[in-house]
């Protein structure tokens, strides 16, 4: 029914305005070990509890956000612009 995401630019908005990409992980250096790349592309933690994900405010400001969300309660603990701290997460 709902799930309001507190977009730092637009205020609380319902999840239908967003596109979810998945875990917010730092992209390895191009020269990084293949195992590191494999982890980045394929391996996910699927935690019960706090999880940081990339959400795109597609139908709003069109900014990519890093949303820290509790996977049990959907409570959003933090939401920042993905560009705000330089490289991802």
């Amino acid at each position: 029914m709902a799930s309001l995401v507190p977009c730092p630019h637009c205020g609380p908005r319902p999840k239908e305005e967003f596109t979810i990409k998945g875990a917010a992980l730092p992209r390895p250096a191009p020269t990084a070990d293949p195992a590191e790349w494999f982890d980045y592309v394929y391996l996910r933690d699927n935690p019960r509890g706090s999880y940081a994900e990339y959400w795109h405010h597609t139908a709003g400001c069109r900014r990519w956000l890093v949303v820290s969300r509790d996977t049990i309660t959907h409570q959003v603990a933090a939401c920042r612009d993905a560009a705000a701290q330089g490289h991802a997460a």
Binding site: L4, H9, C10, G11, P12, R13, P14, E16, E17, T58, A59, G60, C61, R62, R63, D81, A83
Partner: protein
């Protein structure tokens, strides 16, 4: 010479009006999207002056992004100058044809919009001049409160008719 009059996206939609609500298309004039670079501190220097000079209204749409809108088309050479006016701080992109503006007015205007958007349109939260990029139903729009009972709704051209038809349905009980 061939007929080169522009063909408005909502040419086939006639205004809907009652004492409580009025839905109409705004003239397809000028819409310029101005985008600042990530290192440019907003607001971009000169943006407000440019708006004042051209008589275009300024709408914030996203961090570092604005629309300059007006009811009259801007001739090509002048538009080219405007698009480049804020370089290198901001780039201009002509969206005069890419976006269509609708006008929703009347005491029930906010109620009608609340059938589509989750933005709180109470005057204490969304005063005249406020803007929001949001969904109205299934369509992305850019919403501006023009005054207490009037809104400008800017939509991608291809969705203009679909949005109109959805809004018409939302207005129906007040017509």
């Amino acid at each position: 010479m061939p007929d080169l009059r522009p063909f408005p996206a909502l040419a086939a939609r006639k205004p809907l009006a009652s004492s409580r609500i009025r839905l109409s298309a705004l003239p397809e004039g000028t819409i310029l999207q101005m985008i600042a670079g990530p290192q440019t501190p907003g607001p971009v220097d000169g943006l407000e002056r440019l708006a004042a000079k051209t008589g275009l209204a300024l709408r914030a749409i996203s961090p570092g992004q604005w629309l300059l809108v007006g009811d009259r088309p801007t001739p090509y050479p002048q538009a080219c100058r405007l698009l480049a006016a804020l370089e290198p701080h901001a780039s201009g992109i002509d969206q005069s044809h890419g976006r269509v503006r609708l006008h929703l007015e009347g005491p029930m205007a906010a109620t009608v919009l609340s059938k589509g958007t989750a933005v709180d349109l109470h005057p204490s939260a969304f005063a005249p001049g406020h803007t929001a990029a949001t969904l109205v139903g299934h369509v992305s729009v850019h919403l501006t409160r023009l005054d207490a009972e009037a809104f400008e709704i800017t939509v991608l051209r291809g969705f203009a008719e679909a949005l109109w038809d959805d809004l018409a349905l939302m207005c129906a009980e007040f017509l």
